[in-house]
Each structure stands twice: as C-alpha cells, then as structure tokens.
Symmetry: C2
C-alpha cells in the first residue's frame, strides 16, 4: 500500500463515466487515461489530468497503468477485449452473460496467466455482490433456499421491448419485486417461486398521436417472454413527464436466504439488498474497489483470472489489515 | 476437496451444541470429539460417533482432528485457549471483545505461525458477517456512512441487569432497532446517531409477590449505562408466560451503508440484515463454514492468525470453484 494505483478506463459510456467519478473518491488511485474506439477528441472528459486515447494506442501504456477497468458490453466488446487486454494489463470487468461465464473465465485466465497478469471478471452487483451473498449465505446455512429479487429498477431490455410496440413513441419499464412473495420468503416458508411470481413490471409509455392506447396496452401485456407471464401495468404519460420523472437509471434488489438450524426448528433469515439511484455509478464503484484488489493480488504473485470468490475481502479496502482488525471487526 | 474435514469442538454450551448440529448439515465434515473441563460422562452427546473427552487430553488428538472450533467465552476461556490450542491445531473462534482484538490476534498469530497452523479469529455475525459488510460497503462506497443496528434480540447482559433489580424474580430484555432512525438512514440522510438513538429496550419482568411494581419499573428505566438513555418499556408478566414466550434466543440486526456517487448526487443504499430465531445456532453455522476455510488455507500453506478479511469467500463453500462460477455468479 502507499503507492498510487494507476487506472486506465476502456470505454466511455455510462459505466466508464461512473468509473472516472468513483476513482475520485479513492485517494490511493489515479485515473491516467480513457481508451475509446471513437475519435478521442470527442470524449469531453471533465478531468484535465486524464488523457483521451484511441483504443489502438493501448499497448503504449504498458508500465504506465496498473489496472485497466473494462467498461464495454458483454455481448460483443468483452469477449474480445477481456482476453486480449489481459495479455497486456491487469484487468477488471463486469462481464454479465451468466451462461457464458465458464468459457469467458477460461479465455481470460489463459491470457492473464501467460503474461503474469491478474484479471478479476464479472464484478458489479449481479453478477457481483449478489453472487457473493448467494454463495456466502448458502455456505453458512446449507439447509436452506436462496432467492434473488430484482428491482425497483429500470430494465434496458424490457424498455427496448416496450419501445418496439406499434404506436409507442417512447417509454420505460421498471422491474419491481413482488412484496407478497418477499414476505413469504422472509417468513421462512421456503416457497417454490418462478421468476414471474417474484416480479412485477411497470411500463410508462408515451403514445404516438391518435393511436389506440388500449391496443398498445394489450400488445405489451401479451408480449411473449417479456410480459405475458407477469403482473404488468401500463401507464400512459406525456413526453415531458417521461423526461422529468423517468430519465434516471435506478436499480437494486434483494438476495434473501432462508435456512434452518438445530433440528430444523429455527428459521434463520439473511438478507442483502441494494437501493441504487444510479445503477451504472454503483457498478462502477464496485469495479474500482476490485481494481485495488487486482493490483494487490498481482503484487502477491496471484496471477490469472479470478472472481469475487477468490478475492480476500480485505484487499478491497483502502485501510490496512491492522486498521481493519482494530476498527471494523 | 473430497476429504472429510475432521472437527473437534472445545466447550459444550449453547455454541458448542450448535456447532455439532451445524456439522451434520455439512456433508464434507465430521465431528470427532467434544472437549470439556467437566466430567466427560456428564455431557450427553446425541451423536454416538462423537467422543466426549476431558480438555486435558486434547493433545492426544493431534493428527486425528483437522480443525478445532473453540466455543468458550471471550472473557476468560479464549484469551488462554486461543493461543494455546493454536500451537497444536488449526482453530476457529468467535472472540468478540472488540477492544482487545489486536492483542488477541497477535497472541494467536504467534502461536499459529510457530507451529504451522491456521487460526481464523472473531468469526460469527458481530464480529463476523456484520464486520465483513461494514468493511465491504465502505470499500465500495467510500463517500458514505455505515450504521449498525442490533435487534430484535435477547441481550444477556441487559437481562442480567434487569434480574438484579430489587423485587424482580425473573426477566428478559430485548434490544430493538429504532425504526424511525433506520428510516432516516435508508433515506440517504446520513444522520449522526448515538447508540441510544438507534435502539429501544423492552423488558419482560416477573415480579416477586407483593412488591411495588411502579418502583421496579422506575429502577429499571433509570439504571445508568443500561437503560437511562434509552426508550425503555417494562411489561410485567407471569412466570408461565416468561417460560412459554421468552425462552428462545433470537437476535439479529442491520448493517446499512448509505453512500453517494457521481457528483454527490445519487444515493446508494446497501443493507445487510439478519433475523435469527437462534443466535447461538447461527453463530455456530458461521464458525463451521470458516472451519472449512481454515482447513483449506492451511493446505495452501497460509498459516498464522486470519480474520474474515483474509479469507477468500469461495473457501467457505462446499462447492468447487468451477461450480461456483457456473451456478452462483
């Protein structure tokens, strides 16, 4: 500790911007450069100490950056960037295609191990802190069930689906946890619950002029996969209202583990929840804490791909192990 | 992994009994023996595969036990047993005298390092999972405040204080979080709160026959340190009601971290909570999961004293790293 950790940011969308802001809250870190596929002069970075650099120049920063935080998307950016940048730098990313994580881990691990770098993958809140709690609570109470509820949160995929409906000019969709399902879980009942029983969907829609709103509502509520199985509500609003009240990116959710101890006689409930006014800024904050851990793991010679499960929690903290034992235990 | 982890239990009060029951939920573990200062034949252990052994015979179990779970108290048992047993075995304990943790850590570390053993200290929920969340949430959102609320829970110390009041035959005291203080924290207000503002105290008292109940209530509510600063209620009940409704050991609480991101504009709330019907059985379950980690850390050559901050979370799980990545991330 003591040294400033030099950070590079790859990608400058909402997540990359959040990372830059989060680094300013961590006095042991410094943002060096933002890498982009766009024209670097178009980025308009608030902090004049941070360079905007074309992605093709990345390799020139070897030795000048300790950890690259990869802020691209999981669909196309990270499958390519994760392994290729792990060949050059320690990395942290928020890869979130759950089904493909084993393959992604293997590809990043091969690149990072070969070059002596450390890469922490799939960091954020889900995957991320929620995953940590799912694992931890089951390890402590193996005789139990774990439930994940999402919301209240803006869902990008479902908002896109709403906007594709005929006659819809603009709109957003919020996923909400079903309170009565949560109460059943919190009571220790251990119910079997499908995703659709755990969540509700609320749509706020701006309709095109003169269209049939009843038809729009019907089209949304019966949309396969996205809405048909859910308790869905559709509210029509004006463009002004959409802009004023629905332009933020809130999200959150709950991981609830309900276990039994003794001779199955005592209910024990563990709950972890997030209520986030800005989803990308929170994900960015988690990435930055794990960048500190990646740097320290690498200093200890722990190379290759890692997940949150491999990282001793103390490595995330700005504080020394002595301080943590004295003031936080 | 694959090998059965052989566990010894030192002390057979509520915590030791909880550890024995928790081990039965973990199929990669086996309880070998319970060690006691009492006459071993007096223990009445339910499981006939588990020996009852006098504490003086502990050393004979070297090579037969992988991890000793120390279930004694923090006031007098652990300061002596922690270092002395760490010379012989890997250990896990729930040392909870917050102010003395640095000294205790040093003593256990010296003993464990010298003998090549691994000792995880101060495991449970506070210190324990609450400590982990206090540290983790501050690392992720350094621009914020962390609040710990306890309850609803039976407090042993405060129950003892109630029972010492003149005219009190029996009684219990519950600590409750102050809901309005919690709501202020959850709103992102970041208030300054004293312990007394965060909690309420509820006493259930059986009075001796013919005594002045008003005086008892007054004596409790004005007791220095324990009650005078708190919103305290006193309810008189019968012995039957005390036995029927107040013989369990529930506890729990909340760690709430309220941070800001962006240009201080977005509130981000992280909350971790426990609702436990049996405090000792839950603490025991955490100890057992960390016994698995102690065993694995020792196999990796990581010797000396450790806290939760030093333990990669994946080491707590019965599952392999591959399973965790595939099914839990």
């Amino acid at each position: 500790m003591g040294n400033t950790i030099r950070i590079g940011i790859v990608g400058y969308g909402n997540l990359g911007k959040g990372v830059l802001q989060a680094i300013e809250q961590n006095k042991d870190m410094q943002a060096v450069a933002v890498f982009t596929r766009r024209n670097p002069t178009d980025l308009h970075i608030d902090n004049s100490n941070v360079e905007a650099v074309h992605l093709s120049e990345l390799e020139k920063y070897k030795g000048k950056i300790d950890v690259m935080i990869l802020c691209g998307g999981s669909a196309t950016d990270l499958p390519e960037q994760g392994p290729s940048i792990a060949k050059l730098f320690n990395t942290v990313d928020s890869y979130d295609t759950h089904a493909e994580i084993p393959q992604y881990f293997a590809a990043v691990n091969e690149a990072a191990e070969a070059s002596g770098n450390t890469s922490v993958i799939s960091v954020g809140w889900d995957p991320g802190l929620f995953s940590l709690n799912r694992m931890l609570t089951e390890a402590v109470l193996p005789n139990g069930e774990t439930y994940t509820f999402w919301g209240k949160g803006l869902s990008q995929g479902h908002s896109d689906a709403v906007r594709r409906v005929d006659g819809v000019k603009a709109g957003v969709q919020y996923t909400l946890p079903n309170e009565s399902a949560m109460d059943r879980v919190r009571s220790g009942e251990n119910p079997t619950l499908e995703t659709a029983e755990k969540h509700k969907r609320k749509c706020y829609v701006v309709a095109e002029e003169g269209v049939d709103k009843a038809k729009i509502e019907h089209d949304i509520k019966t949309m396969p996969h996205y809405f048909v199985d859910y308790d869905t509500s559709v509210t029509f609003i004006t463009e002004e209202e959409l802009r004023e009240k629905h332009s933020k990116m809130p999200h959150g959710g709950f991981v609830i583990h309900s276990g039994k101890t003794g001779n199955d006689e005592h209910n024990q409930i563990i709950e972890f929840s997030l209520k986030l006014e800005s989803n990308p800024e929170f994900t960015a904050s988690v990435l930055v804490a794990y960048a500190r851990a990646a740097y320290r793991l690498n200093k200890e010679g722990q190379v290759g791909a890692k997940t949150l499960y491999d990282v001793p929690p103390g490595l995330l903290s700005q504080r020394t192990p002595e301080q943590l034992r004295k003031d936080y235990l």
